[in-house]
C-alpha cells in the first residue's frame, strides 16, 4: 500500500469514515452481517469467471476490509470488473452476499467520484439513469450514445459495424418509448434519493478499528445527514 491507512490500533480519518460507510452499506443488505464469518477460503475467487482479470480477488476484498483498508478496494479495478453473476454468492460456504457487497462498494466508489477511464461503469450508470429519468424507459441506442459521450467516442468505433447491422435488421430505432406517468416516476425517484442517507453504526466508542468486531456490535442508530457524508 502506498499510504498506510492505519497504524497498529488506529485508522486514519479517511479510512475510518470509509469503514463506517461500508458497514452502513452492509447493514442494508439482507444477511449482510454474515461478512463477519468469512473463512478466507477463496471459493468466491475460484468461482468467479472474471477473477483472472482482477487486481484484487473477491476473497481479497474481504481481507482488505478486515485489515482496515477499504481505500485500496475503492481504488481497485475489481469492483468494476464484477459482472454481478452471483457465482460467488451461491457457492460461498459462509453464506456471504459477495455480489451485493461488491454492489455496495461500487456505490461507495461512484458516490466518491471514482471514475476510472479504463472501466467506465460510471458512464453506464449515468447514461442509464439519464434515460430512465427522461423517458421512464431505456432506449438502447440513446443509452449507448450517452455512454460514448461520457466514456469517449473512441469506444464507438468497435461497435459501429454491429450497430449498423442491427439497424438494418430493424432491431434498433432512435425513437424513445416514453411512459405516460414520467412525472410520477420522477417524484418517486426524487423522494427515494432524499432517503438514501443510511442508518449508520457509531464506531467511535471503543470498537476495534479493524477485524469484524463492529458488525452488529450494537444496535443501529440513525445519524444526522451531515455526519454521514464521508470525505473523499
Amino acid at each position: 500500500m502506498a499510504t498506510a491507512a492505519r497504524t497498529a490500533t488506529r485508522l486514519d480519518t479517511a479510512e475510518h469514515e470509509l469503514r463506517r460507510a461500508f458497514l452502513a452499506e452492509v447493514e442494508g443488505i439482507p444477511g449482510g452481517r454474515r461478512i463477519s464469518r468469512c473463512l478466507q477460503c477463496g471459493t468466491c475467487t475460484g468461482s468467479c469467471p472474471v477473477s483472472y482479470a482482477m487486481d484484487l480477488s473477491p476473497r481479497e476484498l474481504i481481507a482488505r476490509f478486515r485489515a482496515g483498508d477499504v481505500r485500496s478496494i475503492l481504488a481497485s479495478r475489481t469492483i468494476w470488473l464484477c459482472a454481478s453473476c452471483y457465482a460467488c454468492t451461491v457457492r460461498c460456504p459462509a453464506g456471504i452476499k459477495v455480489t451485493d457487497i461488491v454492489y455496495a462498494l461500487k456505490r461507495m466508489a461512484l458516490a466518491r467520484g471514482v471514475r476510472p477511464a479504463r472501466y467506465p461503469t460510471f458512464a453506464v450508470a449515468e447514461s442509464f439513469v439519464h434515460q430512465v429519468e427522461t423517458h421512464g424507459r431505456n432506449n438502447e441506442p440513446r443509452f449507448m450514445l450517452g455512454f460514448f459521450r461520457r466514456a469517449g467516442f473512441r469506444r464507438a468505433l468497435g461497435v459501429a459495424p454491429m450497430a449498423l447491422r442491427l439497424l438494418l435488421k430493424g432491431r434498433i430505432g432512435l425513437k424513445a418509448s416514453r411512459i405516460r406517468a414520467v412525472a410520477d416516476l420522477r417524484k418517486i425517484m426524487r423522494r427515494a434519493a432524499r432517503m438514501e442517507v443510511r442508518v449508520e453504526h457509531d464506531l467511535a466508542g471503543g470498537t476495534a478499528p479493524v477485524g469484524y468486531g463492529v458488525v452488529g456490535a450494537r444496535p443501529p442508530r440513525p445519524m444526522p445527514a451531515a455526519a454521514a457524508r464521508v470525505p473523499r
Binding site: 454481478s84 452471483y86 457465482a87 456505490r107 439513469v129 430512465v132
Partner: protein
Amino acid sequence: MRYTYFPGCSLESTSRGYDRSLRAVFRLLGHELEELEDWNCCGSTAYMSVAETMALAVCARNLALAERQGEGRPLIAPCSACYSVLSKTDRFLREQPELKARVDEALAEARLAYHGTVTIRHPLDVLVNDVGLEAIAARATRSLAGLKVAPYYGCQIVRPERGFDDREAPVALDRLLGRLGATVVDYPMKVRCCGGMLMTTADAVGLELCYELLRCAAAAGAEVVATTCPLCHINLEAYQGAINRRFGAKLRLPVAFFTQLVGLALGAGEEELGLDRLLVPFAPALAEAAHV
C-alpha cells in the same frame, strides 16, 4: 390462464424477436399475456450500482402497478435482468422493513402502494412448470428432431436465490427443448456468465467470456444456442464478428431465444417469431411432428 406481462426495454428494440416469439408461443398455447400498463424500466444492474433505495423504488413502482392491474396474477418478466431485479426488490422489501418503509414513502408520492402480493415469474418457469411439457408437446405441429441445441441459462434466472431450478445444473430448458424433439448437447458452461455489461465497459474481458462460451458450445456439436435473456443474446450473437476478429476464430453459431425454438415447434412462422431479424441466420428444416 392470463398473466401480466412486463416486456422490459430490450424487448422493445434489440430483442424484438423475443417479445414477438413469446407472445406467439403463449397465444398458440391458449394463454394470455396482458402487458403491464405504463411499466417503467426496471433499472437493471445500473441503478443498484448508484443508489439502493432509488433502485428499489423504481422497481417497486412496477410491482405496485402489477398488483393493481393483475389482481393476484403472476407477473412474467422474460429479460433475466428485469426478472432478477424485480425479484430482488420484492425480496428486499419483505426482508428489510426499514427499506420497505422508505420505498413506501417514495411510492406514496405517486399515490401508489405495494403490499407484496406479486409473484415474479420467468416465462421458462411458467412454460415448464405451469403449462407443462406434455401440454406443449401436444400442441406441437413440428418436431425439433435432428436439431442440436446448446441450452444457455446465463446467470440471473438461476442465481442468486434458489428459484425454479437448480443453481449449478438447471434442467428446465434442457427438458423443454428435449421434449420437443431437439438433441440437447451437453456442455459445461450453461450457467457460466456471458459478462453482461462488461462487453460495454471492459470489452477485452467480455469478448473473452463469450468466446469461451461459444467455442465450448460449438465444440460440443451445437448448431444453435438457445438463450433466455436479451443481454446474453446480444453478447453472444451480435459480437461474434468482433470475437472472430480478436481471437482469429471462425465462429458462426446462430443464437436464438428459446421461445423462438418453441414457437417453431408450435408451427409459427419465421417472421412471426422474429427469426428473420437474427444477425447469424437460423432457418432449420423441420419435419412435421409425429404425434402418438
